[in-house]
């Protein structure tokens, strides 16, 4: 059992968004306030961006740069925008972890080829997200420390999220494709391309002349590293590749590690091995078609992913959700949080060397919950259960009794058992305590969210800070732990799973009767023009969906703020200085899922 559990702190009160935006306007009179659907934002010129971010951080109290993304307005068909404006808009969402509340949104319009300053001096957490915007949209962030491709590989032709970039199997901009409906005269996509594969090559390109770009190798990031220039012994460092096929990387993830002896002196995460182009496909799909795709983001908890997307669309539409559906959503999301935390506890222990056994115990409990999911949604993992304005199906007969058995009898005992067996374990303590430390301020500046910052003593949980659904009706704590090391990151998940059990118990007891779906669930559906950012407290951190609608039946922009992707900002700073074996477990304790990292 852990010795210290910090008392649950409460947040100071919601952030005054209008007041904060006024602060920026005061400092920068050129900034233009815009209203797009449910969102009010400020348009800032590229050369004033850093100034605006500094004002927001230092005076506005916005310490968390949650999300950076970009929209290509090339083929925008709505009426709300001038046609001759700059082609791209880079979007910044900022929050206050101390005060909670809604987000402050900045837009920076830029034309093709126009550089904009990097936000990394103000918010180091902008690092990975700016690289993603460069990779997918081709916008240059001046002064970025490491502006290389991140999801695709160096040498890839073009920037695929641009609206005028088409892949080899491209058919149309909108689904359903007319060759499928109503014409029904379609052919295999493979037959359209001479080589039968989903590839395209520039004209006059000769495969024989191709040379692969030199592999990027990180240099030492350790300030204490002497490189043999001082009076220390001159040694040679070695670069080691962990992944993409490696049993400890939780999927297809690659770490390029520079080590000296066994000490890590530099680490470079390399991802994109599961980049499935979710966003490009999502902008072609109709709104509802994206729901099953969200299941496959963080494939361990499809239910919470569904909720994040449904929440964003409901914000855009102004839809009300019936009470029973809200309760069902809470039940499903919390059950899936328990699944996730059990799974992650099992696999942190796997990484510590307790191969298989704790994971087997955890998976056994997971199966009980998956059975509940299967009987309510029809699928074990890819539930596709939520709809815009409610949920898809009502509970089958006897479901509530089975769920009550699981959350009253089974899970509390299982969690106690894991706690008894693992928390006092000598190996978990010696390998976990003091490993992978980063202070709370550093973690927040790196845009880390979720259990990671709660294990650093920050009581930032969206269920409490900006309550959505019916979370304000339940009695639960936001547990925090003070040490910000691997042990606390393991233990916080156990504590959170216990709180989730409490929430499900209360929700099952108070489950009202009534409708489960308002409206038609979005089968035929055109949200009004505008943009919305909806976020939920996913089991891994803040899961956000940024949507832009131009009034057409498919989303114009569909972006996912993936917590495990952005939490990886902290991987290198956390690992440098520790041993290689610690690198494995530090990565394990971040708890990433590659479907969400690469999307």
């Amino acid at each position: 059992m852990s010795d210290i559990v910090a008392p649950t702190a409460t947040v100071a009160g919601p952030l005054d968004v209008a007041g904060t935006l006024a602060l920026v306007q005061e400092a920068l009179p050129d900034a233009k306030p815009v209203s797009a659907g449910p969102t009010d934002y400020l348009e800032v010129a590229p050369d004033q961006l850093l100034e605006a971010l500094r004002v927001l951080r230092d005076q506005g109290g916005c310490d968390l740069l949650s999300s950076i993304t970009c929209t290509d307005y090339l083929s925008y068909q709505g009426r709300a925008r001038a046609k001759d404006g700059p082609r791209f808009e880079v979007v910044y969402h900022l929050y206050s972890t101390a005060q909670g509340g809604d987000c402050v949104v900045l837009h920076v319009p830029v034309d093709d080829g126009e550089p904009l300053p990097t936000a990394t001096p103000v918010y180091p957490g902008a690092n990975l997200q700016e690289r993603e915007v460069w990779d997918l949209y081709g916008l240059v962030f001046e002064g970025h420390p490491n502006l290389r491709r991140i999801l695709l590989w160096e040498g890839f032709e073009g920037h695929p999220m641009r609206k005028d970039w088409h892949e080899a199997y491209y058919e149309e901009d909108q689904k359903p494709f007319r060759s499928r409906h109503p014409r029904a005269d379609f052919a295999r996509s493979e037959d359209k391309v001479p080589w039968g594969k989903n590839t395209r090559y520039p004209a006059d390109w000769d495969p024989d002349d191709w040379q692969e770009p030199v592999t990027y190798v990180p240099v030492s990031q350790d300030p204490r590293h002497s490189n043999g220039t001082g009076d220390r012994l001159s040694t040679e460092s070695v670069v080691v590749n962990l992944g993409p096929h490696h049993p400890s990387t939780h999927g297809v993830f690659r770490m390029v590690v520079r080590i000296e002896g066994e000490t890590v002196t530099a680490l470079e995460p390399d991802m994109g091995y599961l980049h499935r182009n979710h966003e490009k496909i999502g902008e072609r799909n109709t709104w509802l078609m994206n729901m099953p795709f969200t299941d496959r983001l963080d494939y361990i908890n499809s239910m919470s992913n569904n909720w994040g997307y449904a929440l964003a669309v409901e914000k855009l539409m102004g839809l009300e959700v019936p009470e029973r559906a809200e309760y069902l959503r809470v039940i499903m999301a919390e059950l899936s949080r328990i699944v996730n935390h059990l799974w992650s506890i099992g696999f942190i222990l796997n990484d510590l060397g307790a191969l298989q056994t704790p994971a087997l115990y955890a998976i056994e409990e997971r199966e009980m919950i998956l059975d509940l999911f299967e009987s309510v949604s029809g699928a074990r993992m890819m539930c596709n259960y939520l709809r815009f304005g409610g949920v898809h199906r009502d509970l089958p007969a006897g479901w509530a009794e089975r769920a009550r058995y699981v959350v009253h009898e089974r899970l509390p005992r299982a969690l106690d058992q894991l706690d008894d067996l693992l928390s006092g374990n000598e190996i978990v303590n010696t390998r976990g305590r003091g490993v992978g430390y980063l202070s709370a301020e550093q973690l927040i500046s790196l845009s880390v969210t979720g259990p990671m910052i709660r294990a650093a003593g920050v009581p930032y949980d969206i269920r409490r800070c900006e309550p959505y659904g019916v979370y304000d009706r339940f009695d639960f704590d936001i547990p925090t732990l003070p040490h910000s090391d691997v042990y606390d990151r393991y233990y916080i998940r156990l504590l959170e799973a216990r709180e989730s059990v409490r929430i499900v118990q209360q929700a099952l007891a108070g489950l009202p009767e009534g409708d489960i779906l308002a409206g038609k669930g979005g089968y035929v559906f055109r949200p009004p023009e505008g943009e919305a950012y909806g976020r939920v407290e996913g089991p891994k951190g803040e899961l956000g969906f940024y949507l832009v609608s131009d009034g057409k039946p498919n989303p114009y922009r569909y972006h996912i703020r993936a917590p495990s992707y952005i939490n990886l900002n902290a991987l290198a700073p956390m690992t440098v200085g520790y041993k290689v074996a610690d690198a494995i477990v530090i990565l394990g304790a971040i708890d990433i899922v590659l479907g969400e990292v690469d999307r």
Binding site: Y170, E171, T199, D204, G251, R284, F293, Y299
Partner: protein, 262 residues
């Protein structure tokens, strides 16, 4: 079914019966001590009874693969619980999840490193044919574009039951093989798969000539000409394809029709 407890000698006889050589009989007195069978049957029996999968997960399906190997479904009933992280020690690669272009070179290298006899299962819709992500620019439409596949398992993701059914099919396939015809017992051995390279897009060295002929021909590559709705409301898709592509599609449709008819 009788509820009587099984007679163990009989049970054992029943189990080995299918392996016995049909035409060679053993003298009466040696019946329980000597078995005569064929090399094929012995090899296949040993191979399929302890097939070690590679500990190798790509995406969502890997989670179901882990669930299959864990407490509830228990792959050790098939002699498969020893998942080896090293390709040198494994017999079976379960390609569990979406294959992306960035990952293909690694998969092909791993496949080449596996000792023969080696088998590949494409688990789930993505590994079989691209699945829901098929149109994606970084997604490969099925691992069989690069390495040979023995069993395809549909589902997104396949349930553990489906995976086990696929594994049983794999066992059946192993049982039909013969040392005289299998590639890996031939003098020259089976060939390595050339590793694809990441250029402006991924390219397969086996198709280098074809790619060069198309890119150097001076014409725009046809697949790029499919237009969206932006072009004055003209529907895209097939209508905007070039002549060569239309001819290819027509041929493919004819082949499909012939297959259906005959």
């Amino acid at each position: 079914m009788s509820l009587a407890p099984p007679n163990f000698p009989d049970l054992k006889t029943g189990q080995v019966e299918s392996y016995l050589h049909p035409s060679v009989s053993v003298p009466e007195g040696l019946n329980n001590n000597v078995l005569v069978t064929t090399v094929d049957r012995l090899y296949n029996w040993s191979r399929r009874s302890s097939m070690w999968p590679l500990l190798f997960g790509l995406a969502c399906c890997a989670i179901e693969m882990i669930a299959t190997a864990s407490s509830r479904f228990d792959l050790s009933r098939f002699g498969m619980e020893v998942m080896r992280p090293s390709p040198r020690q494994s017999d079976l690669m379960i390609v569990s999840g979406t294959v992306t272009k960035k990952m293909v070179p690694a998969i092909v290298r791993i496949y080449n490193q596996m000792a023969e006899p080696r088998y590949v299962i494409a688990m789930g819709a993505c590994a079989t044919g691209g699945g829901p992500f098929k149109e994606g620019y970084n997604v490969v439409s099925g691992i069989d574009k690069y390495v040979p596949v023995d069993v395809y398992i549909p589902g997104c993701p396949p349930t553990p039951e489906a995976l086990m059914f696929g594994l049983m099919k794999m066992h059946q396939k192993v049982d039909t093989q013969s040392v005289t015809t299998a590639d890996w017992y031939k003098r020259e051995g089976s060939a390595f798969v050339p590793v694809p390279q990441l250029g402006p897009d991924i390219f397969d060295p086996r198709q280098a000539d074809l790619i060069r002929a198309e890119t150097m021909s001076g014409e725009a590559v046809e697949a790029d000409t499919g237009g969206g709705r932006a072009e004055g409301g003209v529907p895209g898709g097939l209508r905007n394809l070039g002549e060569k592509a239309k001819a290819r599609i027509a041929q493919a449709k004819e082949r499909a029709a012939a297959r259906l008819a005959g």
